[in-house]
Amino acid sequence: MNALYLRRRITNWVAMGLSTLATLIGLAFLAWILWETLRQGIAALNPSLFTKITADGAEGGLANAMVGSLIINFIGIAIATPIGVLAGAWLAEYANRTKLGESIRFLNDILLSAPSIVIGLFVYTIVVLPSTALTHGSTSFSGFAGGIALALIALPVIVRTTDEMLRLVPSTLREAALSLGVPQWKLTLQILIRAARSGIITGVLLALARISGETAPLLFTAFGNNYMAVNPIDKMSSLPQIIYQYANDPGDAMHSMAWAGAFVVTMFVLLLSLGSRLVLSRNKVSHE
């Protein structure tokens, strides 16, 4: 009996020890990755990164990539937000327990983790190839196509958070409005979406964090451009795409610029996810 007890205790210790070890391993890799990004990124930071363009090569900067990233992300979010919020509202308010609603909700969760490179090829087929016919032959990659690809990646994130947040709104609010004779579309747009506003903003910020690091869908849509481009119908470069290009380059100067870009992107993404948490927690306080 004593031996059995001892064996069980040892098994328990070993298991608890291994589980603590697993957590430490996870945290260690997080620390390692963040540390290298900070160390190499900060070492490579200098003012010309923000003022010069990639056409200058090793003596250049990343200004056009940063501007491109901002424009492409803005287009992506500007397309995905209204569509995603309305689709989420449909799921939560109109189709909550219907078969079609359940299937769309289910498929949305799948789209959430669909391979982004396939999304890129999809947009290449439906946007880049058809507009090539308009530009007489030369393949018309564009910042706009990149924005659409990113919109398709942001869409499921926004749909899901809107859907979840609207379902959290107490149904007494709906009943109160409906009993006053407010039509349902007005209820949805002016009361429910407003009540769930901070949750929806969180979703949009999370979607922005998600797309601002995406590389694969931009390779065949926005393509890249070594010069400053602000018109969305031009080829446009973006930070992740430049990181990809420079990291593959044999030159050391290019590598350090890639690290600087990685640092900027990582900081942007981390600040966004921090910000989205703040929006959500502040709202929780205000309800109490």
Binding site: A22, E36, G84, A89, W90, P115, F122, P183, A247, L270
Partner: protein, 340 residues
Amino acid sequence: MSAQPGTIAPSSIIQEQRSRRDALDERLFRWLLMGCALLVLAALLGAAGATLWGGREAFATFGWHFLVSTAWDPGNDVYGALVPVYGTIVTSLIALLIAVPVSFGIALYLSEVAPPWLRTPVSSAIELLAGIPSIIYGMWGLFIFAPFFADHIKPWLTSNLGDKPDDGKLSWLVQHVPFIGKLFGSDYPFGASILVAGIVLAIMIIPFISSVMREVFQTVPTRLKESAYALGSSTWEVSWDIVLPYTRGAVIGGIFLGLGRALGETMAVTFVLGNAMTLSASLLDPGTSIAATIANQFSEASGLQKSSLMALAFLLFVVTFIVLLIARLMLRQLARKEGR
């Protein structure tokens, strides 16, 4: 109809007009919303359709042979999917092999072992790992981890487990265990390899799997766990015999979710795979994956090569769709059990 000046329209008519207008608005609004929701469906169907359409030439030219051929020869315009498919599957399996036990450990630690004040900061830190863009993992893999692996881990692996050790002497293990020598034998000098890609993928999917596992572990009724503790079970016994069986379906769902991520990941693996279009049994040799092949070749490809890449993308999409479908179905079972 507008009310004439000087006369007062009966209120019932105004009301009727108003309710008719509201009904119309309502219907339009409902259609608009449904149209937006259907875009989700359209995106999935469109992605499948576009890649299938783009790959039709490759499928028509090579037929089923495309799936089993190792050829990838732009010079002779002959293409087969086996090498990238093999790389995708093997890197994802390595990733799962590492990530599943580690994620289980993390989820266990966060739900049963850690003191309560430590749980939130540690789980937020792990979730932070999930937010880092995949290209950062790729860069870290390329510049930091692959050289580290080549200097410190690979020599040990090749000399102790491989059939091509530097000093030419085979270790006891290699002489007595079949296949292991082939798996770890390599004379490729760099770190970039299928194994490194698998490890980088594992680090990437650990936060996904562990956060799903932690969430489902928390759905186990406290009553059930406390009963087991009252009978004298240890923490490990409660976790292994009560928590895990209760959440089995959802845990498998979480694992499949991670697998779906790993299969479709591009940037984290493209840098560390080495991009060799050859099939090698060794995990320490470079290889390629579907996503990496597309990322590397699509811009310069044309004709049949482009079509073959589209066909590869279609295969990838179908496989990840099925994996994610299974994952979501498994996870939904638990939600139903909870009565949600």
